[in-house]
Every structure is written in C-alpha cells, then in structure tokens.
Amino acid sequence: MSGIGPPEAQLPPTGTGGNRASRILAWGRETEGARSVLVAMASTVVFVAVVLVVVLNSSGWPLVKQAFFNGKIFKESFAGIRTAFRVNVEMFLIAEVFILVFALFLAVLRSLTGPVFFPLRALAIVYTDLFRGVPTILVIFILGFGAPSLAIKGVPNSPFFWGIVSLVLVYSAYVAEVYRAGIESVHASQVAAARSLGLSRWQSLRFVVLPQAVRRVIPPLLNDFIGLQKDTALVASIGVVESFRQAQIDSAATFNFTPYLCTALLFIIITIPLARFTDWLIARDRRRRQAGAG
C-alpha cells in the first residue's frame, strides 16, 4: 500500500468555497495528488510486468506452472480444503475468546503493586517468559502428544482440544504483554483521581484504567489475532485434519503442490481484511489524537 504516494494524495478535495488564494492552493494540491497517483500506478505496472517477464521466461517455469498452478487440481481439491478450513476458523475463534480473557487476567496479575502480591507477579512473569520462549510448535507437540497420555477424567483427549489449549497458552503470553503495555500507558494521575474519589484499587483498575488501556491496544491485539489465525496450521502436526493437513493429503495423492496454494489463498482471504481493518483503526486513532492536540 506504500506505492500510493504522499499522504496529500489521500486528502479529500478542499477546493470548495474559500478565497482565491486557497482555491489555487487546493487546485495545486489536487493536481499534485492526481500526479502522484499516476506515478504510483505506472511504477506498479512496470514492476509487475518486469517480474512477470522474468518469471514466465525462466527455464523452469513450465514445470513450476504444472506443479503449483494446476487449474484442474485446484478445482478438484478446493472444496475439500475449504471444508477443512472450517476447522482452522473454529480453532482460532474458540482460542481467541479464551486468550482475550486469560491474557487480561495475566496482565492484571502482573500490574498488581505492593509486596504482598509478589508471588502472583512473579508467577505471571515466569509464565510469559516461558511461553514466549518456547516455539509454538513444540508446545503443540508436547501437549498434543503428552497431555492425552495423562488420561485425566473429564478432559477431552482429542488433538483438536489440545491444539487449542496450546494456542491459548502461547498466545496469552504475547497478548498479556500487549495488555500490560496498555495498562502502563494510562497516566498515574488517572489512578490518583479515581482513588481520590474513594474508589478502591480494584475499582480504579476496572472502571478507569482497563477501559482506557484496552481501547489503546486494540490494533496490536488484532495483529496478534492475525498471527493466531495463521498458526492454527501448526496444529496439523499432531494430526488434526485442518486445511494445511488436507492440502498435504491432496498433494501426496496427486504429486502436485497446487493444494498448498489453495490453502494459502484461503488464509489470505481471511487475514487481509483484518490487516486492513487494523491499519484503518491505527489511522483513525492517529487522526483523533491529532485533532485532540489541535
């Protein structure tokens, strides 16, 4: 999206009304904006053309086309992979709910002040250090293969369940840090004001600090949510047949890589809107802050 040109290009036209000088100024800005859009478009076209010419004329292209961009196989495997993709969607939707709650709990534990709470604070720190330090796929392996062997009564044994648990544990560590950054960004004077009105420590946190903190960290939270969506594919490693595993199966049956492309496409279809939405939120936030400062 960086090829669109300078930010003036996105400003709404300002040529309505006003005196002559400002009209000329606005006209100048508009033509400049239009010109930069043209330049951006032209450079994009040239860039894409060059890449296409290089790739399509490479000696290996016919083979790659056959192995990755096979229309027939794409059509055949798409429906199955799309069905399997529902498992990914289920996993990240369920995991996200638990992550948002559990991570907030961790962040609150970590922001407790006072020597009495030291053990709780320490626990939260150890937790985040541990789960941010271990690769996600290892956690999935260890829990997915290890936990069912415990055969605890009432706890499901399915890899689907333990896959979600792993994602919740790992992502809560990241999201807790995001929340904590938000909590710490709320100025101490807000707490002083709340306490001076007789609110308890907990009430200050609940009514004054957390609402402001959460609002500020929504964009980074969505960012982690995008990461989570993609990492659901890792759960394939313990035998859950989600879209990536389905693509592996199809690929093994046809000796063709096109099914992977199919999976990639599905992931892109759901992550891109969220990414743009996150950008939009950040931009809106910035505009608001600038308006507030002015």
Partner: protein, 258 residues
C-alpha cells in the same frame, strides 16, 4: 466578606495537622507542618513552586502516605494504622491542576461514577443529583459530552462537580487554575467563590493572589516545606512579617500578578 456564609469555626474543627513530615527519597518536601482548619474556613496556601503546597494537599487526601506526624479529619485520625482509606477519601475531595477527568466517560458518568460504585446510589438518583450539581455550575448542557470536547475551564468545573458529588466535608484544590488559559480562569474562580459562600471548608493551593486575598479567611505562606507565616489576608498581603514572605510577595508584584 458580607455574605450569609456560615460562621467559621462555629461547629468546631474540620482538619488538624500535627508535625507532618514527608520526604521523597532524600528530598524533604514537608518539614513539620502544624495547621488547624476550622469548619467553613477557607485557607489559601501560597508559596513558590516546590514549597510543598501540592504534597501537603495530597497527604491530606492520603494520595501520599506521610512519614511521620498526625492528620485528623473531623476528629478521626486518618494517619492511624488500619483506617479505611477509601472511606476517608470520601470525606476529603481533591481537584487537580490537570483536571484528570476520565476521558472515556461522559461528563455525567464522570460525576456519577463514585456515587454509584462506591456509595451504592442507584443510577436514577445519582444522575438526578449529578444534573443538579451540573446545573448549579452552568454545565447542564454538557452532561453527555466527553471531556475532550470541553474547554479547560469547563473541564475543571466538571472536575469540581465530580469531587462534590461524593459529598465531601473538606475540599482540597491544587492550583486548579494554573493549567488554564487566562480568559478561562474567572469561570473556575467564581465556582470556588460560590463553594466558599455555601460554607465549604477548603484548602486551596494557588498562585492567584488577588483571588486568595478575596476568598481566604487565612493565608499560609509555605517555604521549603514549612509554614513560615500565616494570618488573615489583609495582614499577610499588606504587612508581611517574615522577610521570605516579603521577598516572595515582592516577586509576585514585580511579575504583575497582583
């Protein structure tokens, strides 16, 4: 002052400080403060920045714990061990220089937060009381606005209303006009004058000497964490005894602030 203001001290003592000390690390900010405030009395604390005015007010509200000494509010020692800090804070309202309104809440929610969540007043009653207070200070039409849509003067008046909504017995005002554009100072000072007229006991840290002269029953001059001089405004401003008070007032006059 010729107004129906209740007689100062008619019903006794509101606040007493005994040898209050407070340090931040090595920096001694309060070095033995003794002060008694009568019911309905208005005390103005004057003194240079860093003389301890703000810290003194924050100690009375227990936002800062004192190192030694006693603070007694309405006969109850609030610096004793095991007191209910939250209950004491309800007796003592404080308004800050930087307003500190909650930016994510509307004006009426800012004002009703404590009555509803702390005092347990139901929503309808709390809002009715809030609107009554907002009306009294000319803010009724702002009830559903968010703080960042208000001018500084309006925000500070909302902050005063918010503190009053908890029905405190004493109000502490910490340089409440220092962050305001000059043209907005008067509207806030008028609110404080009205409060004084209604008999509210107040301790006011201020740089507005003209205002202090008008409103205070007593002026306390703080210097390096001690009350160097106190007395009725007429005497302090016209005939200061302590050389440091004289020096301070001279600087204020030179700066054209009096």
């Amino acid at each position: 002052m010729t107004d129906p203001r209740p007689a100062v001290g008619a019903s006794g003592e509101a606040l007493r400080l005994e040898d209050v000390h407070k340090s931040f690390g090595k920096l001694e900010v309060l070095r033995g403060i003794d002060l008694t405030v009568a019911e309905h009395e208005v005390i103005c604390l004057i003194g240079a920045s860093g003389s301890g005015k703000s810290t003194l007010l924050r100690c009375v509200n227990l936002l800062e714990p004192v190192d030694s000494g006693r603070i007694v509010v309405e006969g109850e020692e609030i610096t004793a061990r095991g007191v209910d800090v939250n209950a004491i804070r309800r007796q003592v309202g404080i308004v800050f220089q930087a307003f500190n309104l909650f930016p994510h809440m509307t004006v009426v929610r800012n004002v009703t937060l404590s009555p509803r969540e702390v005092l347990g007043v139901d929503k309808a009653t709390a809002e009715a009381e809030a609107i009554e207070l907002l009306e009294r200070f000319g803010l009724a039409d702002k009830r559903d606005e968010y703080p960042d849509r208000l001018s500084g003067g309006q925000q500070q008046r909302v902050a005063i209303v918010r503190a009053l909504a908890v029905k405190p017995k004493i109000m502490l005002l910490d340089e409440v006009t220092s962050a305001l554009d000059p043209e907005l100072v008067a509207e806030v000072l008028n609110v404080i004058k009205e409060l004084a007229a209604s008999g509210m006991t107040m301790m006011i840290a201020t740089h507005e000497m003209g205002f202090a002269k008008d409103i205070a029953n007593r002026i306390c001059f703080l210097d390096q964490g001690k009350i160097l001089e106190e007395g009725p405004p007429a005497r302090i401003f016209s005939d200061p005894q302590n050389p440091r008070t004289r020096e301070f007032l001279q600087r204020i006059i030179e700066a054209g602030r009096m």
